[in-house]
Subunit: 268 residues, 6 copies
């Protein structure tokens, strides 16, 4: 049980879904985002913070926190300047702040887009070379590498979760493989905070879906076993899906639509 948990990016979709589940393992929760959150529960407080502002990030740790869930930053493809501030500078600011404030464990929201250019018929474990599919994906490789170095050099522990698709339910055929129930994500966070040793571990964030591209065996020491599955929406998803072209890169590669998208700075 944590005394005080910090969660960045708390106003986003994953953050909003996770909030009600955090009370399971944290007595109080500091929420942070660039957007204000007003519907606070009794155990929650809010602190506005632009991740690109190192002072503001350090202030999030005032009074001490003993766990961090770092969802903050850009979570889709954007122009480089936006990614630079929130995901590159922002990640650096967060790890530096943690290092200077007692090294609480960090759950880092990485992404499947770090490996989006692997094919769907390739099964990936957590030792594969990244093949990002977007500037966004590249920024998450940066975050994971930073986490790796901060652990090896400074002992700062971190779980990098390559989140698939954390939505209320799978919305398209690709999500039958990538869907992550928020309850499974909460369990994963709990396992990571409870583990005798976390080190820097990379884990794929997907529920126990029948369709699967990812192999988490090297993280089995954490004891995480997802309990949910996309199976109950399978028929519904397939029925409403438009026909998939087997020659479409968005169908061939794991990254899906991110693979097919052009450069964010190009005129459409």
């Amino acid at each position: 049980m944590l005394s005080k948990l910090l969660m960045t990016g708390a106003a986003g979709g994953v953050g909003a879904a996770l909030r009600p589940l955090l009370a399971e393992f944290a007595t109080s929760v500091v929420l942070s985002d660039v957007t204000e959150i007003t519907d606070l529960a009794a155990h929650e407080s809010f602190q506005l913070c632009d991740l690109g502002d190192s002072g503001a990030v350090a202030a999030l740790f005032d009074g001490g926190v003993d766990g961090v869930i770092h969802l903050g930053g850009v979570s889709v493809e954007k122009t480089f300047d936006l990614i630079l501030n929130a995901n590159l500078v922002g990640a650096y600011n967060l790890f530096e702040a943690a290092r200077h404030h007692g090294q609480p464990r960090i759950i880092f929201a990485s992404s499947n887009h770090t490996v989006g250019y692997y094919r769907r018929d390739e099964q990936l474990d957590n030792t594969v070379l990244p093949k990002p599919d977007s500037l966004y994906g590249v920024s998450k490789v940066f975050g994971e590498s930073l986490a790796s170095m901060y652990f090896n050099k400074f002992g700062q522990e971190c779980l990098s979760v390559r989140i698939g698709s954390c939505f209320p339910k799978p919305a398209d055929p690709r999500m039958l493989a990538t869907w992550l129930a928020v309850e499974d994500l909460a369990d994963l966070c709990a396992c990571a905070f409870a583990a005798p040793r976390l080190g820097h571990t990379i884990v794929y964030g997907a529920s126990d879906n029948a369709e699967s591209w990812w192999d988490n065996r090297n993280a089995d020491f954490l004891g995480w076993r997802p309990k949910h599955s996309s199976a109950k929406w399978r028929a519904e998803v397939l029925a409403s899906a438009s026909r998939q072209d087997a020659r479409d890169p968005a169908v061939i590669y794991q990254g899906g639509g991110f693979v097919a998208a052009g450069h964010p700075s190009d005129k459409s």
Copy 2:
């Protein structure tokens, strides 16, 4: 859901068992074999065909089919001339006909005898070099290689199923590992027809048996999870089995009796 499914080898054991299950995913079914089938259901039709006859094979696709289950051909060790006609020429005829008729997906009944000379204490995934145990097994390696080339060069998609033992129930200790419930096979076919992309994929056709030599993880993207197991017949099978000699090649190697059988042209 397919409009019209073609199933070759429909008069054989696996074909007969599969027929009642095909209605789940096909509106109409064309059955074909060298032996006539007369007990046709309303959604079934029959077309006689020797797979060695390219014209007859092409005629199976008349009017268009949008899926093929290719069980046809010799399914045990036979002399080379029989295998040549049905399994070598036959496979070529089938892939050529499919290529010229809109490239419907093919489920190709390959066999565990493509890898029969691996030991039972070796765990095989779908990337291992074939080690066939018979002329029959060699002919199935030919079929898989043809399928691989037809996909890479022409885009013809195919699932090569290395079928274990598709019988009503396991009949001997070896089948505790190799048994494939026909319902699981039907589910696999449905997954393959429904998948956004199939490419050329090799999968081992066995149910969720406790004894296992095969690892299908590279085909997990299909979403197939067999639901049946040989476990309920385990005690019965072991009780009635004669003593196994641990030094017998038929016990050491996966191919079982096929390994121990001599050349089909040799006088017994």
Copy 3:
């Protein structure tokens, strides 16, 4: 079903727990230990034996046995002379006796301490190079190597079980990963005696725990599926555990306390 099973080390903790379960697959059981056992069931008999005494070990096979569970020997870190007699000479004596008495299959109680210097975030299968964590662990590597040679050269079959923690329930956080329910161990023995071929197989002896460092896929041919899990004691274990230091070798490495212990001959 075995006619007569020999179990060495029957007076130890694992032996005592296994005894009531052996009747499932053995008609009569010869128990042996250096400590006398007096509470014998009708199907049990007892024979005193120091494993370092080759004549006494040979005498255990008098009248013939058709299966051996070899738990005897030192099971924790001890000085070299004790290990030498019971685990080195003792293992040799046992394999020699078996070789001369019809080669009944042997279940050899090896240990996770053969690989104690792998990290907990490393997933081990049964082909990894041993990295023992103690003189005790070295002696178990010796036993496994002896078993490997006796099978390859003489055909003596053996299952080397790298037992995790076979206790009534997990007693600390490490055992959440290493715990082996004695019922699962009994099932494993039954599978090994029933398998058509055993060869020399190494298997990790742990129940179906969520926390896991070990991958038994290469032994899947045995058909063993553990049914128990440490999960039901998880909350209790974590609540009563003292804080784990993520930098402590006993927490980093699989061997736990064995890694941290000094040399048994050093003065404390």
Copy 4:
């Protein structure tokens, strides 16, 4: 030193180049082809043979041979009926004849086109799953599989050489990687005939070229070390080559032009 060596396909390019080098390890040489050879040396004899004719193939072994170099058959992409006769039926006829005539070792001219759909930046050893690039390549997979089965079941030893480009000198950029000096091929044959045990071994037939896609380490037990290299023609080849398009499948994949060629039965 062999007493009598049989070489099929002796009238082809590789056969003609090899002939003068065979005297190093064979006292007499039987040459065979569908085309007559008239310029026979003293130690050579000629026997006309269509490989599709089992009687004619058997006759090649009359009087006994103690080694076979099987270059015969179609060596480029052709229509299926031609490949069927020479490469499928022909290979079967040859292995059957050898099996019935004392099982002389066979050097089988397989081809890099068995793996033509791997990319050039993939390094292949001899355990990879075949990915043929043509009907011709498929026929060579058949031949290798047949050889594998004939060794495992009947003890017929064979070296399957996945020949790259055996020409007087490299003619284009691709051949800088695939070139095989005929002297290196002759050395390889000599190693295979001299080895204490050959089994069925697959080896890539390329000289010691700086550009390389293939790893022969698993065949290092043969003691073959190619002595030639494409390096001395590198500047010349690159100077005269037309510009390579990095997006051209013929440049991406190992099979080169075979990958780009359509189906041999299609009208051009």
Copy 5:
């Protein structure tokens, strides 16, 4: 032969050493750096450029270049703001400029510090997960990931060279393994520009040293074979070296001194 080659970071040590060798494969060379270069040869020109200035970087490509050697940026551990500008923003600016100017091939000076936290007794190929040892190393992982994405998505080809130690001669025991003769680096660049297809390839930049931690086999398709070795300085280096402590992280890990260095922002 390139018409116009752009080399950034030309005033640094590696740049200065490479300059005289570029004439082998480039008719004219544009040198760039933040420090002016005045001793220009006839085929050289100079253009001042801060890599963090996207307009200035784009201007380097004015008039077209058909090859880029990108040595620019910070090459040792520095504070994050310096690395941010030169190595993160700088790399992005360079790849964007190349993408908009005809996609000339890029040789990207990455670093062995992308994998500095692997041990020296681990042999690395180019598919391992990065384990950077410094903010500098993290920035090079970013650059490689960016290059990977620019190739997969936009077709921009790049060679990422994980340079070891490119100095006139090895200066300490570690460099016996990491030394890269500048002539070997020049040959590598020439191979990369001449290859039919480069894609995005990672290669370790070390000469043919006896001590070696790196395996370039997956880049063998380039045809690069380093000709130099650290061996001739071995005795001299070992004689003058201070005693190495086998327990020192700087001796255990590949990154050497970078591993031992603290955070660049910490007060010493």
Copy 6:
């Protein structure tokens, strides 16, 4: 350069051959054996020692040694009691003595017979699971495991050399693969003593022979490159060799004659 080197087993074949070469890297050399050596050079001294006598072994380190070459013990198949004393107790005594005397690096003469039951067409690196072929081979697995534990737990560094055949020249076809020139062994010892860090490293002791079963890449960090080869005796060896039976276990497996030999205690 070592001040004082201890070499056990100095009266044996390898020891006698190594002696003249040790002066390259050791100022004085203490020779030890159960057989007295009288032809001492000026820098050599002799000390009689039964390795089974812990006091005698400890005495070898009197006055301090800064390097050990441990060739002592039984080097062929013998009865268990002989192996027990010299190779099991002896190895323990030596590692204990080294641990108590400043932990000089140990070169441990292990043997290829630790892996004798791998086939010759299998390529082994230093991470494979041992498969010993004899009681002798099992004792060498024990020694390597002891060395592994002494390094991981106590920091005692050691090189375990799986010596092939260290004779003046190869004497039979198997030795074409296993031959180790004594000069190459001396170089290897020198590399191991000079390396900045040795840890516990396993290396196969064979010269640069064309025939090869072993892959030392994971020991490349040592900088050892053997300079000799069995090639110059190849023709002579093959000419005088009797015919090899490809089905003989002694020809199939790496262990050669050790594989074929029965149990040393069996009556012949």
